[in-house]
């Protein structure tokens, strides 16, 4: 423990009351350049509760973090006193393969969960960036998704229940562990995507799915972005078992080791006969377009996921538009200094990466996307940009303030992430 004397006395005394193994070096938990006063890695939910109670009593701001892959989601923290590392809370609580349900603590990584499920040929269909290194708590708190979103049920669709440590240290559960349940308010849906500002997720229950027997990824070469859009639409409107359908702009295509021209990347899943049929049908469609290559493995999807976290200082935008405006957004991005742009057609999601961009250009891009009826959210950006440029855009604020006021009246959980004071 570094320099207890320099802490406020309350923290010093609190640390002394804790088992030494849960106290961590604060320097390991820097967010936006700020070192917290103290850091803890609890090993039990009751210890989270104890830490939060303490923080609430003395009005210390707490920032929960798992694998630390999404610390720049949202605005810069207004206060940051205590880092709460959830990675020590990682036990499997219950898994009944026959019921297709699993309950796991929030600090377990998605990789850990998939490993457990794969023993029974099951999985949670989540493919967030940057990889399966994300914790279950982080996956839920940020509601990240990837190419599978919209094609197969997502985390938001499959969450069954959740246990949360509230801002006063009390422990609250919603939902349950059965696959169908409408009892009470679905608090777990509220915490999914709430960026840890309403409570600390300590465990979650999901419905899981069988791992498809086979999968195949095809890369389809296009002459321009319009053709890529047309082709992706044709595939989406087919009856083929698509799990991923992504349009890559020329720069992204090149970065991933292909030619400097737009591509459509598609993944089919299912049994042998459906894979065979999917390849056949796609080849038939491609006669009107261009070259088609079957990839040896699915590695390319992992490479795409990691693009968003490739460099620390880069700016990553998530745009959402209706499917018929996807190509327009890619074209708009091509007019900027973007280094990569790719889009998932079914979910209407376009990710754009910049090495550098000024706030004026960001504002212009946002208004262009909004002009197409969409939205633009900053997912990753250096603190100086998020300080002056609202990462979320036009969102409902009154209800969010009202929820924050009731869930966290002292404002100790990730204060300022959403808006001033929230």
């Amino acid at each position: 423990m570094s320099n207890i004397q320099a802490f406020p006395e309350s923290i010093g005394n609190f640390i002394k009351s804790l088992p030494p193994e849960i106290c961590r070096e604060p320097e390991m938990y820097v967010i936006d350049g700020k070192v917290p006063l103290s850091a803890f890695r609890p090993l039990h939910i009751d210890q989270i509760s104890q830490i939060i109670q303490f923080a609430n009593q003395y009005n210390f701001a707490v920032s929960p973090q798992g694998s630390r892959t999404a610390l720049t989601f949202g605005r810069k923290l207004e206060r940051y006193d205590i880092a709460l590392d959830t990675s020590g809370i990682s036990k499997l609580v219950e898994y009944t393969p026959e019921d297709l349900t699993v309950t796991i603590e929030s600090g377990a990584t998605l990789h850990d969960l998939q490993a457990i499920l794969s023993e029974h040929r099951q999985y949670l269909p989540a493919d967030p960036n940057p990889s399966d290194v994300v914790t279950i708590g982080g996956l839920l708190a940020t509601a990240r998704s990837g190419a599978w979103r919209g094609n197969v049920p997502s985390t938001r669709d499959l969450i069954l229940g959740m246990t949360v440590v509230m801002a006063d240290g009390s422990i609250a559960t919603s939902g349950g562990r059965v696959v169908k349940n409408v009892s009470g308010f679905d608090m777990h849906r509220l915490h999914t995507g709430a960026l840890g500002s309403l409570g600390i997720i300590s465990s979650a229950s999901f419905k899981v799915l069988p791992i498809p027997e086979r999968n195949v990824s095809l890369i389809l070469h296009c002459s321009d972005i319009k053709e890529a859009g047309d082709l992706a639409f044709i595939l989406r409107n087919s009856v083929l078992p698509i799990r991923g359908l992504t349009i890559l702009d020329s720069k992204t295509s090149f970065k991933l080791g292909f030619s400097y021209a737009p591509k459509v990347l598609v993944e089919y899943v299912g049994i042998e006969v459906s894979i065979h049929r999917s390849i056949q049908d796609t080849e038939e469609i491609m006669r009107r377009f261009g070259e088609i290559n079957q990839l040896e493995d699915s590695q390319i999807w992992a490479e795409i996921r990691s693009l968003a976290n490739e460099k620390k200082e880069q700016i990553v935008l998530r745009c959402g538009v209706q499917a018929n405006n996807i190509v327009e957004v890619i074209k708009l991005a091509e007019l900027t200094s973007a280094i990569c742009t790719w889009a998932n057609l079914t979910s209407g999601s376009v990710r754009v990466i910049f090495e550098d961009i000024n706030v004026v250009s960001l504002s212009k891009f946002r208004s262009q996307v909004e002009g197409l009826g969409g939205f633009m959210q900053v997912e990753t950006a250096p603190g100086n940009i998020r300080e002056v440029f609202d990462p979320f855009g036009d969102i409902e604020t009154d209800l969010v303030r009202s929820l924050k006021y009731r869930f966290d009246p002292s404002g100790i959980l990730n204060p300022g992430r959403w808006m001033v004071g929230v």
Partner: protein
């Protein structure tokens, strides 16, 4: 009537005067004979509203909500009144906002696979409207011929195809909502995962306690290439339940797996002529969809699993007519059961699928012990039970005993690690059971959600949360006198 507001005449006159500033008088009902129509839904309880409004625009809804706030009286939204849990009962009186006149499908955007509908659109009407586009709106509650999309949002409805597609919440992109206080907002939008907190997600299933939905953007999915419906016939409910688990174990997730027991088959078949064998112990209605090659493969897996578990026969619907007939039997089951007794009491509970045989036996035992016939037709793939108790409310004490039995069955579900409702909601009827599932701390957290949206607590009061959580009124005791007119509560 249960603890209604019973507004004074002069107060009522003033209220109507204020409402008519923006709502036509013809859309406001206050005559006793008109109000009577709205004193019940499909649950056992009854309660009279002080006023009923049939708005056609969001502005009218907002005005009614604003006026209600000025008068500090409850506001209760209602669709077709098909809820089984008393969610649409105005137990403290107030303004009942009936949304059935807001029944336009405003937009079908096939290219972007979405539709915007008003809350009063009947679920089946949307399905029919989508047929030319080869698209479907997945949620299909058994009451889809009469229930509204707004009501489906209120209770996060399910239906047979929830097994593959999930409940209503998975198919709602966004909603226009009138909040308590009258403010109109959009939660979510026309795209998935709009920025901001997922207020859409928490609103769906909130049973009208957080606001009134006035437009809904639903996501649509393409019709599959092939659909195959099968009827697996078993000698016992145990064997049928085991077959359900065997199918799931095989790695095939059918679109639907519905079970009907002997009691249900005996009632449904003579009335609907669906083709169910009258002497079967139980039947499973199983549907697989997808590419024709996949359907071929998956049906073979299903047939094998059923045969291995002792199916007497697995019939495959050879035509769309036969398929529709098989489904007609399932979706008409409640109506058919309703014709066999003066009243029925339909329950909704969920258990882990692997515990189905055990709990079903316990349900039948409990019903037998209580002296009632109990029929079971339910969403077996989801473990979502619907025990249906047949009874005569005019028989002294029968209603109380039925409610007691209902509680006992819900307790069985809870003790098995399940839930007290899978798709009907908590409403009024089950709020006292909430404490069996949730701790005081859980309920306190839920209360925070409720009061964040509705700090005064006038939106659909006394629903979802038990006594002491936003409602001072205790659990209502039903008396036999309420059943002076025998009825079938379906």
């Amino acid at each position: 009537m249960i603890d209604c507001n019973s507004m004074e005449n002069n107060q009522l006159t003033a209220l109507i005067f204020d409402l008519t500033k923006k709502i036509k008088r013809s859309k406001i009902l206050d005559a006793p004979e008109d109000l009577l129509v709205y004193e019940y839904d499909t649950s056992i309880d009854r309660a009279l509203p002080d006023i009923v409004i049939l708005p056609t625009t969001v502005e009218e809804v907002s005005h009614a909500v604003t006026v209600a706030a000025q008068y500090d009286i409850p506001v209760i939204p209602r669709g077709s009144g098909t809820g089984f849990a008393g969610g649409a009962l105005p137990v403290k009186g107030g303004i009942l906002i009936v949304l059935t006149a807001m029944n336009k499908i405003r937009e079908i955007d096939a290219e972007n696979r979405l539709a915007i509908v008003e809350p009063g659109v009947i679920n089946l009407h949307l399905h029919e409207a989508l047929e030319p586009y080869n698209l479907i709106y997945a949620p299909d509650p058994s009451s889809q011929r009469i229930c509204t999309i707004g009501g489906n949002v209120g209770t996060n409805s399910g239906g047979p195809h929830t097994l593959a597609y999930g409940s209503t919440v998975n198919h709602i992109l966004g909603m226009e909502v009138v909040l308590p206080g009258g403010r109109i907002v959009w939660l979510g939008g026309r795209q998935l995962d709009t920025p901001g907190m997922d207020l859409r997600g928490v609103f769906v299933g909130s049973e009208g306690t957080l606001g009134i939905v006035t437009a809904i953007c639903v996501s649509l999915i393409p019709v599959n290439e092939t659909v195959r419906t099968m009827l697996a016939i078993f000698d016992s409910i145990d064997a049928a339940s085991s077959a359900v688990s065997a199918v799931i174990r095989s790695g095939v997730i059918p679109m639907a797996m519905e079970m009907m027991d002997q009691e249900t088959i005996k009632v449904v078949e003579p009335r609907v002529r669906a083709g169910y064998p009258i002497d079967a112990g139980a039947v499973l209605l199983i549907e697989v969809e997808g590419l024709s090659e996949v359907v071929e493969h998956n049906s073979a897996v299903v047939v094998k699993a059923c045969n291995e578990l002792g199916a007497r026969e697995v019939r495959i619907a050879e035509s769309s007519l036969e398929r529709e007939s098989l489904w007609e039997g399932r979706k008409s089951a409640i109506g058919a059961l309703g014709q066999t007794a003066p009243a029925i009491y339909l329950l909704d509970g969920v258990v882990p699928r692997t515990k189905l045989p055990e709990i079903l036996n316990k349900v039948l035992l409990a019903s037998h012990k209580a002296g009632f016939k109990c029929a079971n037709m339910f969403h077996a793939g989801d473990g979502n039970l619907h025990p249906t108790v047949l009874f005569d409310p005019l028989e002294s004490g029968a209603t109380d005993r039925v409610l007691e039995l209902g509680g006992e069955i819900m307790k069985l579900c809870v003790d098995a690690g399940g839930s007290i409702t899978g798709e009907h909601g908590i409403g009024l009827e089950k709020r006292s059971y909430m404490e069996w599932v949730f701790t005081e701390s859980d309920l306190a957290a839920m209360e925070k959600i409720r009061f964040s949206f509705d700090p005064v607590g006038n939106f659909n009061p006394c629903k979802i949360l038990p006594t002491g959580h936003g409602c001072a009124q205790g659990h209502m005791q039903i008396t036999d006198q309420q059943f002076s007119i025998p009825g079938v509560y379906v």
